[in-house]
Symmetry: C2
Subunit: 187 residues, 2 copies
């Protein structure tokens, strides 16, 4: 489990054995079953999660009780209700397992401590955040310019393995279309 | 002009006079007239821009030639085709002045140098990037859950001064609605 995190970080910054050992002490491993919640709307958000295995969905539930999927997270991805985590306010989103999932959990104080004590980790998080921002910007452009068929094709091209693993009803909630519309797009 | 940048940075990290003088040497001041382009689609993206005064629009033009506004930037905001800047690839977006605009320009090598040489600046950019990501995520949630009337009201609540300054046709291109629809929303 440690190797996955190390390989992931070392795609951006290289770490000595001592440095990685120091980084690793800040994370706690947890396992969750399919349908379990890591974050519940209205509750405090303790952790920033690194996904070791499995699949999560980050969900916004609207006033009518309808679920909208903000993002998915699978192996090698980070996920949280990031605003609530970063500002230590109550969650407005929920984070739920689509499959059995193993994560490494990082407290905000340890996120900050890692950035303070090891500049390489601040560089790592800066790079992840910049690419997270770029990814969100692309999704906004996709919403502005593409119809649902095009958005489905873009998702399929960008994340083919994700599309295979995610139930169609969840893909529809991510793309902002009905289950019936999605069926016509993906025969 | 220097004070605006310093005040902006010091909302997140405090700098000594020497540190700010060092930071300031990495920026070049430029002035642009209304309708001038800072970034043109297909061209290299040299700079990350800090807006000192004025108003910019970041635009994606689709295959039919229609303009979609990805974001606006006014005083105290950062803007660029960030993917193209960060990866030093050709712009897929354009950045154009909605008003006469003064900016401070930062090259990628100087962005990296500032992060390397002054950890406070890396912390500053990490914080800005995290809030940029959070802002984009909120806009995605807004698209997933809200109709055009609600999106307009959210924009009005979040950025009242922006809505006053931006021509209605550009607001429509930001909200993804027609000019006629926007007129019905904002009598």
């Amino acid at each position: 489990m440690q190797d996955i995190l190390r390989q992931h970080i070392e795609k951006i910054v290289s770490l000595s054995d001592e440095e990685f050992a120091f980084v690793r002490t800040h994370f706690t491993a947890k396992k969750f079953k399919k349908h379990q919640f890591l974050i519940q709307e209205g509750e405090p958000v303790k952790y920033f999660y690194f996904v070791v295995s499995g699949l999560l969905k980050l969900v916004h539930t609207d006033n009518t009780g309808k679920e909208h999927i903000v993002s998915f997270a699978m192996e090698d991805w980070w996920e949280s209700d990031f605003y609530a985590f970063y500002t230590q306010t109550a969650a407005t989103l929920s984070l739920e397992c689509v499959e059995d999932t193993e994560v490494l959990c990082l407290l905000l104080k340890d996120y900050k401590k890692l950035c303070d004590d090891l500049q390489k980790m601040e560089r790592f998080f800066l790079e992840k955040s910049n690419y997270g921002f770029i990814g969100s910007q692309r999704r906004i452009i996709s919403w502005l310019t593409s119809n649902s068929k095009e958005r489905y094709e873009q998702l399929l091209k960008q994340y083919p393995s994700l599309v295979q693993r995610v139930p169609k009803s969840l893909l529809a909630a991510y793309l902002g279309v009905s289950r019936e519309t999605l069926s016509r797009l993906s025969p």
